[in-house]
Symmetry: C2
Subunit: 166 residues, 2 copies
Amino acid sequence: MTPDIRPLTETDWPAVWPIIEDVIRAEETFPYDPAMSETVARGMWIERPPGLTVVAVLDGAVAGTAKMGANRPGPGSHVSTASFMVAAGSRGHGVGTALCRFALDWARRQGFASMQFNAVVETNSAAVTMYEREGFQIVGTVPRSFRHPAHGPVGLHVMYREFDRG
Amino acid sequence: MTPDIRPLTETDWPAVWPIIEDVIRAEETFPYDPAMSETVARGMWIERPPGLTVVAVLDGAVAGTAKMGANRPGPGSHVSTASFMVAAGSRGHGVGTALCRFALDWARRQGFASMQFNAVVETNSAAVTMYEREGFQIVGTVPRSFRHPAHGPVGLHVMYREFDRG
């Protein structure tokens, strides 16, 4: 099944917060504050226009979420970025891939020239492999810059892909 | 002459803001919003503890400024970062080097394991050369991710150095 991806609405938040909470508390894949409150998480995750936050709905339930927008302001504002989180019970079903493809299409339509991920945990091989399949390259890896609870200090990849100029 | 480096105080801001304003309006070295207001700049540049913002004083005048702190929260909080700005009339006098050395010493004393720069404009050769002299390496370069007013799209380096474990 392919998830349905649509903009997040106010009523989605109660289903989205547990996904974010699980991911940040685990400290395995995002360099976020693991003690982040729900209020702070809401402000951090819900992008204001021109950015966008979406949910992936599978079998009628929110299975994942993504946010997307400019990676930097001013002279860097032609580069987009995005973040993806998938509910623990929904991993391995293509939800992350669907969210990534949605973000790439969105960024291209918005006129961005490329997409950059600033901090992909190198041990998160599901994500790294998926990003490479979707056309991203590892630009570089900052060694030992993420403290993984099981693996210790691991690298953070900077990943990047440009869009075809059509 | 070696500049004196000390924490920024409230009364320094009127001397610091013109330095920041010149740098961000020029759009040559920082991926910041060039239209940033003084109020937003103040909130962005003045770090709260445990971060620190300093000024470099040369011949009794503020010649440069730096901010320093953690690059990321949570599992990335052992990596520091810093930003440096030098007044146009004071460049080439070692102010940037002095600020960088101060930041490295500060970060080491604070217990950080390393320092990372996320977006060094590759055409800013004065900065790149100085960072390399101070022990930083280019981890990778995101191509065409900074629109330079004279050079067009140029790369942004991710630069990094670890501290000796003493």
